[in-house]
């Protein structure tokens, strides 16, 4: 059972986390793993914290991840990264978009430390990278690309899944965003 790997995709409603989770699960299944995914719908999606939990391995029972057992924490912004940081297990990797989305009505949040400088973190400006790839909404693909570099599943599988999930006119920009993330996946020294 220890061979089951755990991924959390965390962020704010509207950031494309549901789509990212769907792609990721399909890629993992195409890669030959048993996969389970759990996500949030409904009220929580209206600007609230959103988390998609993905588990893969030879056989997965629970669709939920346990605190302290996360192998890859993919945070779509910094406050949610903080909220879930303690869920990272020993040797777990944080992949984070450096942007901060403040809870409604707040403009300042004091975070315990600046996570952008956390050793062993992959920190990206996903929105800007996506914009340069031609589609600002593809920030989710940039982060998935960075994750892809660590999962060891061939990019060809990612491309195939992308082709089946993304409208043709956005395919090229999504693919480019994925590749840009993949190319920037090296964790900071530490």
């Amino acid at each position: 059972m220890s061979k089951v790997k755990n991924i959390l995709l965390v962020g704010v409603g509207g950031q494309g986390i549901i789509l990212a989770g769907k792609l990721l699960a399909e890629v993992l299944a195409a890669g030959g793993f048993d996969v389970k995914l759990s996500e949030v719908h409904g009220m929580a999606q209206r600007g609230g914290s959103v988390v998609t939990q993905v588990r893969f391995g030879p056989q997965v029972y629970s669709p939920l991840v346990s605190p302290g057992k996360v192998d890859y924490l993919v945070a779509f912004e910094q406050i949610e990264a903080w909220r879930w940081l303690s869920w990272l297990g020993p040797g777990g990797l944080l992949i984070m978009d450096e942007q901060i989305i403040y809870p409604a009505g707040r403009t300042q949040v004091t975070l315990p430390e600046d996570l952008t400088g956390r050793p062993g973190t992959v920190c990206l400006n996903a929105r800007r990278i996506a914009e340069e790839a031609g589609l600002v909404k593809a920030a989710n693909m940039v982060l998935l690309g960075a994750l892809a570099a660590h999962l060891g599943i061939e990019l060809e599988i990612w491309y195939r899944v992308l082709e089946n999930s993304v409208p043709l006119k956005y395919l090229e920009s999504n693919r480019k965003a994925l590749e840009e993330g993949f190319a920037r996946a090296k964790p900071s020294a530490g």
Binding site: V35, H41, A104, T107
Partner: protein, 570 residues
């Protein structure tokens, strides 16, 4: 072929494969995607009904006509449909009928966490609980077979973690199911007392037969391992396998009626027996009533959703996770939401607001703080009338607020009550032309069906007039001045009034040009922040990526410091 599917997608697939030809529902998290996915299969006539009671009644008729039928709803939807539910338990079915109840332990998107397994026991109807997407698909077929063989509706009970978790599902082919002939049988279908007494006997006899089925059905499965035994069902099975990999497990798929002999035999093969289930001690109390010693709710409690961490902590195997000190991020009304201005105005007028179920329930949260109650679908109007009946002063101090989809679901009858019983209640129908909270489903007021076909569009104004309301006005949700004036006038009016506040959901229309703050004019008074718009941040600064140009902030700014050419589309 295997495909990744959520439990809801798998249930839709199961309906397709099992030859279901009619399906009906009212949207409600976590059940909504069942019908949305069923609508993808052209061989099933699928529809949104105005509410769950009607959906079930459509299902009853389709079953009488010999079709296999699936009806879906969230847990509280079955409260609405409980009336037909309790009596079709007596009549039984013709074509197979499965009712999917999607419960929401932990209340991810619900007003309570009731355990609908009791609806099976109360009605004397078999209950199935799948533990993953694959089972969700298979159990639909099984439910329909049981339904036809035992002449009973079947309750397929899932929870949020089954509905919204995804896993690999082996797909099969559709097996067409010919309509069974309808045979007139008043003793079975006309539930006047003389006939109903006979049918209650049939229910009791049927349960005895189902109890024998429970003993042998393969989905009630014993997995022998160690001397600790666990009886469990649904998603809890997965948590048990994670936390107690060495335990022997009796995994129940058919959880009502229970297989008493098999449970006794299992209990005798283990030294200690746990019952692990979410919410109420539904299995536990029945097993205790057999005289079997178990541990259950003293371990897990009855509150909220379980997971493997909570289970491990409750068994004393792990420590609770440390608390995290990060500011919470509650859900909020979206930027450009047409509900925002309404609650801003109601708050400024210091009115008591009887609320209802929908996105606009978020008007209760700060900084809007503009809702006093939220009980169930349609409760706003009746409870506003009730306050007024207790003390007539409330007629001028309170309003009812209800969305268009909710009004059509269960707002018409209480409005009729207001008219009939001489109330003066002011009702605001927030008409955003969709069922927004559950993800933009159509309803009788949108002019489209679930299948995307054009449909007659109900005229709210004429409908309300037909109920006997004479004072009806229509106001643009983005026009705060008109809104304020309308509410002030209508609460003073000596008769019932309805204000239809109109604007399509902001997520359904293209955004306008974002508003911009003129820093030279802004004195940081903070009035615009009281709108609770996620696009406006202290300072004041407007995030142009989030802003949809609704213009509310420009309307409330006393210094005309917010501008830009944020054209509001009409």
């Amino acid at each position: 072929m295997k495909k990744i599917m959520s439990g809801n997608e798998a249930i839709a697939r199961g309906a397709y494969e099992a030859g279901v030809s009619v399906a009906a529902a009212y949207p409600g998290t976590p059940s909504t995607e069942i019908l949305e996915n069923i609508a993808q299969y052209p061989s099933i006539r699928a529809q949104w009904s105005p509410n769950e009671k009607v959906a079930l009644e459509v299902g009853i008729g389709a079953s009488l006509a010999g079709a296999r039928v699936l009806v879906a709803m969230k847990h509280v939807g079955l409260n609405v449909a409980a009336d037909p539910w309790m009596t079709i338990a007596y009549t039984g079915v013709n074509g197979g009928l499965v009712l999917v109840s999607a419960d929401d332990p932990g209340m991810h998107s619900s007003q309570n966490e009731q355990d609908n397994r009791f609806y099976a026991r109360m009605a004397g109807v078999p209950l199935l609980e799948p533990a993953d997407s694959q089972e969700a698909k298979e159990f639909v077929r099984l439910a329909l077979e049981i339904s036809e063989e035992y002449d009973t509706p079947v309750l397929l009970r899932i929870t949020t973690r089954i509905a919204h978790s995804k896993g690999l599902v082996e797909l099969g082919e559709r097996k067409e199911h010919d309509l069974r002939p309808y045979i007139k049988d008043p003793k079975k279908y006309v539930m006047i007392p003389g006939n109903a007494r006979g049918r209650h006997v049939a229910v009791v006899e049927r349960l005895a037969k189902l109890a024998r089925l429970a003993e042998e059905i393969p989905i009630n499965k014993v997995e022998m391992r160690g001397k600790l035994g666990v009886i469990t069902s649904g998603v809890c099975y997965q948590y048990v396998r994670e936390v107690l990999p060495e335990a022997s497990v009796f995994k129940l798929g058919l959880t009502y009626p229970l297989p008493e002999d098999a449970i006794r035999a299992f209990a005798e093969r283990v030294d200690e027996l746990f019952v692990i289930e979410e919410l109420e001690p539904f299995l536990e109390e029945q097993i205790r009533a057999m005289g079997i010693r178990v541990k259950g709710k003293e371990l897990t409690g009855v509150l909220g959703e379980l997971n493997q961490k909570r289970l491990a902590v409750s068994l004393g195997l792990e420590e609770p996770p440390p608390a995290v000190d990060v500011p919470p991020r509650p859900p909020v009304l979206c930027p450009g939401c047409p509900h925002r201005g309404v609650f801003y105005v109601l708050r400024r007028l210091r009115l008591t607001v009887l609320g209802d179920i929908g996105c606009y329930s978020l008007g209760a949260l700060p900084p809007l703080d503009a809702m006093d109650t939220c009980i169930c679908m349609g409760a706003s109007i009746g409870s506003a009338l009730g306050m007024e009946k207790a003390d007539s002063v409330w007629a001028e101090k309170s309003v009812a607020v209800i969305g268009d989809s909710t009004f059509l679901h269960s707002g018409m009858t209480p409005l009729l009550d207001v008219v009939y019983n001489g109330g003066r209640t002011t009702v605001l129908i927030l008409d955003n032309s969709t069922t927004a909270m559950t993800g933009h489903q159509d309803h009788p007021g949108t002019g489209r069906t679930l299948g995307g076909e054009a449909a007659p569009k109900v005229d709210l104004e004429k409908l309300v007039r037909a109920l006997g309301v004479r004072r009806i006005r229509r106001v643009d949700a983005y026009d705060l001045d008109s809104l304020r004036r309308a509410v002030r006038e209508e609460i003073e009016a000596p008769e019932p009034s309805v204000i239809i506040v109109t604007r399509p959901c902001a997520l359904k229309v293209p955004p306008g040009r974002p508003s911009v703050v003129d820093e030279a004019k802004c004195n940081n008074c903070g009035l615009c922040l009281r709108l609770g718009c996620p696009a406006i941040q202290e300072g004041a600064w407007i995030d142009s990526h989030l802003c949809r140009g609704c213009g509310l902030c420009r309307e409330v700014c006393p210094r005309e410091a917010i501008g830009g050419d944020a054209d509001v589309q009409s």
